[in-house]
């Protein structure tokens, strides 16, 4: 079995994978980072979104071997080591942007990428359009959109990081 090496949430990791092992499987099963979820088999749902070299990517549609040498950030890598949450995470909590939580890591990772590409002053139309690759079955999206707008604004302020409860 070929070996693959990459950096995940700032830590260098190595694992033995099959050629067909998906990045999401490597994260969940080899590294036990189960915050990244699998919700579909067509790349549509977005529950698997992580950042690969700073860009939001669907980890269900990447082979682990394709990520040799890459820098990966997952949902587990957002909060400060001390526990303070990222402003975007906090915004989801403050704005009731989640119910079952299964789509939430993918939504948060996608949201950060929207901010990277479109800035901190996001209007509703932009957010809804840019979330085309993320599906939620619980909330009807309304509060997710509110959360992302609020999180984007909070990030501009340098982000008030609140301690984890």
């Amino acid at each position: 079995m070929p070996a693959v090496s990459m950096t995940v949430n700032g830590k260098a990791v190595t694992g033995d994978v099959e050629a067909r092992t998906l990045l999401v499987q490597f994260l969940r099963e080899n590294l036990r980072l189960t915050g990244t979820h699998v919700g579909c088999d067509t790349s549509q749902c977005g529950a698997c979104v992580v950042h690969v070299d700073g860009i939001a990517s669907k980890s269900c549609t990447l082979l682990a071997l394709q990520c040799e040498g890459a820098k990966i950030t997952t949902i587990e890598g957002l909060a400060e080591p001390g526990g303070a949450l990222h402003p975007m995470q906090e915004a989801f909590r403050e704005n009731h942007g989640l119910q079952c939580g299964y789509c939430t890591p993918g939504m948060i990772m996608a949201a950060l990428d929207i901010v990277r590409r479109r800035g901190n002053d996001l209007d509703e139309h932009t957010i809804r359009e840019q979330l085309d690759g993320n599906i939620c079955r619980c909330t009807g999206y309304h509060n997710i959109v509110k959360a992302i707008a609020a999180g984007a604004k909070a990030m501009a302020k340098g982000g008030t990081r609140q301690a984890a409860e």
């Binding site: 079952c100 939580g101 079955r137």
Partner: protein, 414 residues
């Protein structure tokens, strides 16, 4: 508004683990020595299993076991059940066809399981599942509920004529007929409430662990009601006595009803875990969810509304064919009966209602409660009737049927 006490916003307690990716959904749980299950499923809507050869699959790397419907029957594991008895108009009980957790004689819907492979890894289990050779004799199938009772339609289950599960009714047929006879306007509508697939973003999953030392079993399951699962799997499926079964629903990623029911997969995982004496985990792929999660709705209805010249409703009657799929799911019988017929008045004052429901088998995925369960179906019927009536009679739907006026007049009389 103060920060605490009455009127203060209350934050949810569970959000912290979800926004940090530290939730524990069933697939996240890992048990030492865990094996993975992959099901072999019928590609046909209806077929006879002529033969099943697992010999090649058993030799594949990492395969711990390949188990079939025959193995399940030999171990005397009971069938899945529908727990809600409904009687037909003539008093006969509903016709519940046997529903084994793995099919052995015939398969009755695309996705019906015929075998399960237990492997060291998921990839190995899936590879071996592809090597299980099943020889099917494809049989004619019926999938349209409106055609399931027709003369000449294939009879899906032995001894269940016209694929009819029950013929139920509710209300006063005579009074309703009289009201229709006296009506100045009758609206008639044929509507279909199409089948829906719930598609919670978290696919269904089951992780079963048999404890060799104590003969106890633990099931982690994407269940909306672990107590019901524990009861049904122990007392009705007969897996093990209730006190020897623990069912844990950890974090569940949406259900909307689809995770209420007791499915074949958790039964198979428990049984397989006891056979191989190791934990067995199964997680659905999305395509597998489409095939095997209980679907919703699937009604074909002829509905009529009787009104007087002023647009006050006198009566409503509806005849519905409810498609329950290939097997009766856990609560299926209740959805198009007591959760449907009793809701047909909607928000309107309707003096007489008569509702007839025929529940039928078809070669499709089982249908059960989904996000409203019968009540959205009833709402659709009554609101469509009122809307069409308003257009036909040239009145405002909001004023139609004396909805507001009859309520106002009742209030004034007090």
């Amino acid at each position: 508004m103060s920060a605490t006490g009455i009127g203060a916003a209350v934050r949810r307690k569970e959000d912290f683990r979800f926004i940090t990716g530290s939730g524990q959904y069933t697939d996240d749980v890992v048990r030492p020595g865990e094996t993975r299950a992959a099901f072999v499923r019928s590609p046909h809507a209806r077929a006879k299993i002529k033969s099943l050869d697992a010999s090649a699959a058993k030799k594949m790397p990492g395969v711990v076991a390949v188990l079939t419907g025959a193995d399940l029957a030999n171990d005397k594991i009971g069938n899945l059940i529908c727990g809600w008895m409904i009687h037909s108009k003539d008093g006969t009980p509903m016709k519940m066809a046997p529903h084994p957790a793995i099919a052995s004689g015939t398969v009755n819907h695309v996705g019906d399981a015929v075998a399960v492979v237990i492997g060291e890894t998921l990839a190995q289990a899936r590879d071996a599942a592809e090597k299980v050779k099943v020889d099917y004799e494809v049989l004619p199938a019926v999938v349209d509920p409106a055609k399931a009772q027709a003369a000449g339609a294939p009879q899906i289950h032995a001894d269940i004529a016209k694929n009819t599960i029950y013929q139920w009714h509710l209300g006063d047929a005579k009074a309703t007929a009289a009201a229709f006879a006296a009506a100045k306007h009758v609206t008639k509508l044929d509507i279909i409430n199409n089948r829906l697939v719930p598609n919670a973003i978290e696919p269904r999953a089951a992780l079963a662990e048999y404890d060799v030392g104590t003969d106890h079993m633990t099931l982690w399951n994407t269940s909306q009601n672990p107590h019901v699962a524990r009861l049904v799997i122990s007392a009705f499926v007969g897996m093990t006595p209730e006190h020897k079964l623990r069912v844990i629903a950890p974090d569940v990623g949406g259900g909307f009803g689809s995770k209420i029911f007791i499915y074949p997969e958790e039964v198979v995982c428990l049984w397989a875990s006891r056979k191989v004496r190791r934990p067995v985990k199964w997680t659905a792929e999305r395509s597998e969810s489409f095939l095997t999660d209980a679907h919703g709705r699937d009604h074909v209805t002829h509905a009529e509304l009787a009104l007087d010249a002023q647009g006050k409703i006198l009566a409503l009657r509806a005849k519905t064919i409810a498609n329950l799929g290939a097997y009766m799911s856990t609560f299926s019988s209740s959805v198009p009966t007591y959760l449907y017929g009793t809701l047909l008045s909607g928000q309107y004052d309707i003096p007489s209602i008569y509702c007839e429901v025929d529940a039928v088998y078809t070669n499709t995925a089982p249908v059960d409660a989904y996000r409203g369960a019968g009540r959205p179906e009833a709402t659709f019927v009554v609101e469509r009737l009122v809307e069409v009536t308003a257009r036909q009679m040239g009145i405002d739907p909001a004023e139609c049927a004396g909805a507001t006026s009859s309520r106002r007049s009742r209030t004034r009389r007090r």
